[in-house]
Symmetry: C2
Subunit: 557 residues, 2 copies
Amino acid sequence: MLLKTEIRPGTYFDSVILMHLQRGLAALPGVDDAGVVMATPANLELLADFDLLSPESQAANPDDMLIVVRAQTEQAAADALAQVDELLKKRRSNVSSQYRPRSLAAAAGQLPESAITLISVPGRYAAAVAHQALDLGQHVFLYSDNVSLDDEIALKTKAAEKSLLVMGPDCGTAIVNGVGLGFANRVRRGPIGVVAASGTGLQAVTAGIHNLGGGVSQAFGTGGRDLKTEINAATALQALDVLARDPETKVVVLVSKPPAAAVATRLLAAAQACGKPVVVQFIGYPPPGRQIGSLHFAASLHEAAETAVALAANPVTEKPAPPLRGFLRGLFSGGTLAYEAMLGLQATLTPLHSNTPIQPEQELADVYNSTGHTIIDLGEDDFTQGRLHPMLDNDLRLRRLKQELDDPEAGLILLDVVLGEGAHPDPASELAPAIAAGGKARRDIEFVALVVGTDEDPQGLDAQIEQLQTAGARVFRTTAEAVSYVSQRLAATPPPMVAPVDLAAFQRPLAAINVGLESFYDSLTTQGAAAVHVDWRPPAGGNEKLMDLLARMKTSP
Amino acid sequence: MLLKTEIRPGTYFDSVILMHLQRGLAALPGVDDAGVVMATPANLELLADFDLLSPESQAANPDDMLIVVRAQTEQAAADALAQVDELLKKRRSNVSSQYRPRSLAAAAGQLPESAITLISVPGRYAAAVAHQALDLGQHVFLYSDNVSLDDEIALKTKAAEKSLLVMGPDCGTAIVNGVGLGFANRVRRGPIGVVAASGTGLQAVTAGIHNLGGGVSQAFGTGGRDLKTEINAATALQALDVLARDPETKVVVLVSKPPAAAVATRLLAAAQACGKPVVVQFIGYPPPGRQIGSLHFAASLHEAAETAVALAANPVTEKPAPPLRGFLRGLFSGGTLAYEAMLGLQATLTPLHSNTPIQPEQELADVYNSTGHTIIDLGEDDFTQGRLHPMLDNDLRLRRLKQELDDPEAGLILLDVVLGEGAHPDPASELAPAIAAGGKARRDIEFVALVVGTDEDPQGLDAQIEQLQTAGARVFRTTAEAVSYVSQRLAATPPPMVAPVDLAAFQRPLAAINVGLESFYDSLTTQGAAAVHVDWRPPAGGNEKLMDLLARMKTSP
């Protein structure tokens, strides 16, 4: 058993080509295993793990292609290495027959209609390439991973200023104007737009839409970190805004693993204001309900596709009334009703405060004084010590109601009224007069009552509802409906995009520059897109110390 | 403005009666405010907060009723106090005309058919009363709050040994054999059984069922802490078991605020094995999907009612195949698919391990070796360093598959196969032979493949599926379907109840003992239940030091 080594100095191939060469060599007669890598320190370690690190390998530099063959005989190894050029030729894509510009700038000159640059170079080089692309006015599809959070922030800040999208880093997939980028299922075109912070999430949803007979207008990947606190949905918000303005898009789908809570609220508030139905599947995010106004929450990726297709078939024009000014004050007697209402309302109302917070940051500093949007569970110990439960005794609720009416910030009062055995025999007789008086004193305040009861309850369901309605309250019978109404009435208008992305780039036939994996270039041209592949090589010959030095020289004054 | 005080030594009334007296006094002419309390230190503080603490009040003992009136004149105050007996008489319920036993034992003698005792005495006395009830063979509905966790554990341990249910502490509601306990909506009887760890949650669901035309067999409250780790769903599991055996119950609904993760899994595994469709609404719990076998996950309390009513109208007989032995080994190329599968499977498979855990305790100690149920995302950095993504390169997945086949603990191998642009041109050609060989070597192992793709994908969807099926894999097209299948195939049989609760107690017309709020007695008799009210007073005259001494004497050897 022996190792034979070949070093090709200054020769760069991408990892797909290297893999195919390695597979080809390993399959040759008499060959036991083979390693084909760019000779970076990490890759040398990897070769060692597979018992493929020959002593000669140590002489290779990071910008050298290193080929090691483990064979049974000297002859088999030599024969294998003699096949390298043949195997490379066989596996080379149609890129090789083209003229290949050596820089992004040259590529942009060659394909001036290019709107987007696909970047799949190794992670440590990716941010610099993406900056170049943005500087050339290109949207960026950044497939590369191992890009730092700081680099992502810098890239997305620059992109936002230039009205450009950065999909990624670590963005595996997108469908732009009918052309799949990276990994993408082939789907028919149609009225459903997708924004996804997860790769196979986007694929499962777009494939599901197609399989159900629907179609996709645009599907934007954002990279998996976009909905983290540090990035604050920068790309997702831009992409949502594009889909909101895109006349081809009738329904939007948002897909992600669970976002940071505040980021989710920000994105959902924007989605609520976008004027189109939005299907949300934040996998593993506690859903605030099935539907809040124009937001539809799905329980699986496939259900997101189903809901989107159903909505696209029956598009409902959403014309929400101009929202109320002022804040929510929810005064609950039922703890679970308060909890369910909070869970629903926190999706879009922020910040939301409570004496029974779901998130720690929602904790009300002083339970006896509301601030901003507030939901109080008056059945909690703070309030019941030495008192009867508020379902039996309205006294404390009436006092608190009066207190809220005295607060000029209050805009909507939400009360639950729970009927049945054991409860107050006629709660509306005490609540309705207070509502009527409040409505007179404060014409700017709305009252919403959630009535839980049946037609057999001793209080008389219809009479209770009628008293409340006559006093001026809008009555709902389920938390879900009350939440949907309140969420729409109090929706904040999200600030408009500072520099909206130009829609036209996504409406023209796709033309793109590809830097990195040649297979992505092949995929683009196979799909009929115009494309140029850049003959990219690691800067400074892959020497990281030298690269660092160059970078420092560039940024020094 | 002056305060006038009356102390009635050794006189006990419950808090509802005290409230009504207080309201009655406060409404009298010339009276400004009134306080009526049992003179415990906490209640004296409360009076002070309302400027109702007279100097004379200090002389009252905890077992004395203390009445304080604040009036504008001496005469108005005196007139008010003169009304006390009249007001008390007016507000007293129909209890007063009955013979009232002084002890639980006497009440049980008077109503031997009583199956359940309602306890609503102040929290500090409640555990002792509940122990007495259990010792008399009574199920317990424990409305009282402020019962310690240790007391709850002791009560539920004793109850389980005696085949009895303890609903509570802090259990606000239940419907037993058509009779509402505590706060309860009046609903028609029917085929839907409810187990709820939340009071208004139970009310909203049962009222919703009635309002949608359905009906309720039994609705058991468990108390809000039952699904916490310390209690481990003791009552919920008993109640579920009762409903599983109850021939009147066709569909079960489980309601709770989010349980502890391990408790949720325990309860859901029992629900999956109960042989009836179960609707789950753990408000704020990330749903594992819409449906896993016989488990249906709702997005709101009202949707839980809707789903239950729909299922009750079309009851499906669930006959799951006998489950497989062995553990799941999920080898994923798509990170989001892995995540969605974990989210679904963790609901019933426990413990579940992964290199991309959702819960910290799911973290796999060694990502290169599976243990128990394991899901691996092979697209994570651990595996892609120096390699292509597993959607491009099956090499690592094939090696890992072989490794799993060598593990006698492996029972079901789950693979995703993601088609489309950019992905491997023919993944099935590499995976199918490995599956076929594995199936031959290990006849005890099942293979499940989740294929994400469309009929336009370059790999040829049908051909890919056919290769996988021919090799022996069961193919699903959505994670949701794959999860539902795998969850049922690997379901563990939960251990049977050690001492199942006798169903008969809930099938006979309800007879109950009431200790505490007289209004609950009134509610029972109004609903046609046989009931006895205990003339309960705080032991040792409410003197807590003396009570402690008595308790210590009882428990000493």
